[in-house]
């Protein structure tokens, strides 16, 4: 563990309740430099509340969090260290995109040239930048918000639903941008309620449901945990799996999915003399299955509790 760099973001036991409603319940996770961490959860799971607590806009009921080693509100000139985008639509509708960036640059003490650089980086045309944000599409607002977050050359990015409103090309662009940022040693925490987005962009995952942490780890590990897909064109695979006591169920379009790992399944098949034509982690809908599974589990737990 000694080789790991200290976390850029650390959340420890963060909780928030509104009266009797518990919006965030004892959430802990860390984001390390060089990684893009996806903060995944259905709408109303407590993602935004957690991010607001992280940057000091909401007081936690319990727990603590640090960014670059200190509580966010204690960072001097935080815009130069942490880029934050919590709601791309939360801009004065009467201000131009350029003006929004100019105000940010002014406050952070950056040269005005930085504004033009950012406008160009996020792919807004100079003409678009001169328009009032009230006329922007959601996708343009997201680009403006990303530009604002990157203004101060931060080392940490905290983005709430940044891909919301972007078209597939836009999401692809954002993936490249965040990947580059992380590869240069930056840390990214971005939230989404859409699995596809996060599957494309993130390499680490933190999943919450109903305010509670339900899973975290690398995308690879979490996908593996979702199960194995196995298919054989000849022989009785079902009987072989059954004989080995492996849990499985038929997958749509042929083959089976199983929570058992690939090696266990391969041994069972070899033992029964069944030749496998496919053996791999559940893909495509893997994260989706995980996501639905986790959130459904959480919902059930809530009912019986």
């Amino acid at each position: 563990m000694a080789v790991l760099s200290p976390p850029a973001i650390e959340v420890a036991g963060l909780s928030k309740s509104y009266g009797t409603h518990i919006a965030v319940d004892d959430v802990s996770f860390a984001v390390r430099p060089g990684s893009v961490t996806g903060f995944l959860g259905p709408n109303g799971a407590g993602k935004s509340t957690t991010l607001r607590m992280l940057v000091g806009l909401t007081r936690p009921s319990d727990g603590r969090s640090t960014v670059l080693g200190v509580p966010y509100p204690r960072l001097p000139n935080p815009g130069r260290r942490v880029g934050v985008l919590l709601d791309a639509s939360a801009q004065h509708t009467g201000r131009t995109g350029r003006e929004v960036l100019t105000l940010g640059a002014m406050l952070m003490g950056l040269p005005a040239t930085r504004v033009d650089e950012m406008v160009e980086l996020v792919g807004l045309t100079p003409a678009e930048a001169r328009r009032r944000t009230g006329t922007y599409s959601l996708g343009m607002r997201q680009r403006l918000g990303i530009a604002h977050a990157l203004l101060g050359r931060p080392r940490v990015l905290i983005l709430d639903e940044p891909a919301n409103g972007l078209d597939p090309a836009g999401i692809h662009w954002m993936r490249g941008l965040l990947r580059e940022f992380a590869d240069a040693g930056g840390a990214v925490l971005l939230s989404s309620h859409l699995l596809r987005e996060i599957e494309v962009i993130a390499d680490e995952l933190v999943v919450i449901g109903r305010g509670r942490l339900v899973a975290q780890g690398s995308k690879h590990d979490l996908l593996a945990a979702a199960g194995t897909f196995v298919r054989a064109d000849g022989g009785d695979l079902a009987a072989a799996l059954h004989a080995a006591g492996i849990e499985f169920r038929p997958a749509a379009g042929g083959g089976y999915t199983s929570p058992a790992n690939a090696e266990t399944i391969a041994r069972a098949a070899a033992h029964a003399g069944v030749a496998l034509t496919e053996l791999r982690p559940v893909d495509g809908g893997g994260l989706e299955a995980l996501f639905l599974h986790l959130t459904a589990d959480d919902a059930r737990e809530d009912v019986t509790a």
Binding site: S5, L57, D87, A90, Q91, H92, M108
Partner: protein
């Protein structure tokens, strides 16, 4: 106890080189925010333009004997008395109604510093507008004497400047206090412009209420400042009324802004 070296040293050096947002920079940003939207620009234009318009109308309409500096000041500061507080209210509420607080308070987490910067920016802009009114009144009086053989009296006195300025500043601070306390533009505007009138009406209901009105009614208490005949008792009444109408909402507003969750919806 080994401490991670390189990163922390670099971080410390960076922090030393950039020790936070200086107040001057925050103030400049807040001043710019008062003037960089269409709505705020038109409001400012209205505030500044109202003065020469009033002066011109007076030059044509008023009787020559009434063309005195005192009267010019009296009329030019009336539109400002109405419009300046709107600027003050918007300065405070727009962070919430336009949700820009989400950005503002993440860039400057110390919300009291933001409030102080807004406060200073609004007062600075307000004082410029007030100075413009005094100057316009002076030009009006000179023109009145020259063009229409007006009275041209400059009788006003240094106390006059102070008292009129104080009336305007009271309006500005009251507007900001209402803005901070209510955080919603519409509510703050309505409360600022309607509540005092209802309150004034209330204090005319009975004779006994009328006699104590000046203690509780800010309009009445500050009325003496306009007439430039404020007495010791008048100052005390003003102090009491200011406490009720400004100090209390201001204290509540600062507390509320400090505690309120900044949300996007």
């Amino acid at each position: 106890m080994t401490t991670p070296t390189t990163t922390t040293t670099a971080e410390r050096r960076a922090a030393a080189a950039d020790g936070g947002v200086p107040f001057g920079r925050l103030l400049r940003t807040e001043l710019r925010k008062l003037t960089d939207t269409r709505a705020s620009r038109w409001l400012l234009i209205a505030i500044v333009a109202a003065t020469p318009v009033v002066v011109t109308v007076m030059l044509f309409v008023a009787a020559p004997k009434d063309l005195t500096y005192n009267n010019f000041v009296d009329y030019t500061q009336t539109p400002q008395k109405i419009l300046l507080p709107a600027l003050a209210i918007l300065a405070m509420t727009s962070e919430w109604s336009q949700r820009t607080g989400l950005v503002t308070f993440t860039l400057v987490p110390d919300r009291r510093r933001v409030l102080l910067a807004k406060f200073t920016a609004v007062l600075a802009l307000g004082l410029v507008a007030i100075a413009v009114a005094f100057a316009a009144a002076g030009i009006g009086n000179a023109l009145g004497a020259g063009l229409r053989h007006g009275n041209g009296s400059w009788a006003f006195g240094p106390a006059g400047f102070g008292e009129i300025t104080l009336v305007q500043v009271i309006g500005l601070v009251e507007g900001m206090a209402f803005g901070m306390a209510l955080l919603i533009t519409a509510s703050a505007i309505i409360a600022y412009y309607v509540l005092p009138s209802i309150w004034s009406a209330l204090f005319t209901l009975t004779a006994s209420l009328k006699t104590i009105a000046a203690w509780f009614d800010l309009n009445k208490a500050s009325g003496a400042l306009y007439d430039q005949d404020i007495t010791g008792k008048g100052w005390l009444q003003l102090l009491v009324a200011v406490t009720i109408w400004i100090a209390v909402p201001l204290a509540f507003g600062v507390w509320r802004v400090g505690r309120t969750e900044v949300k996007s919806s």
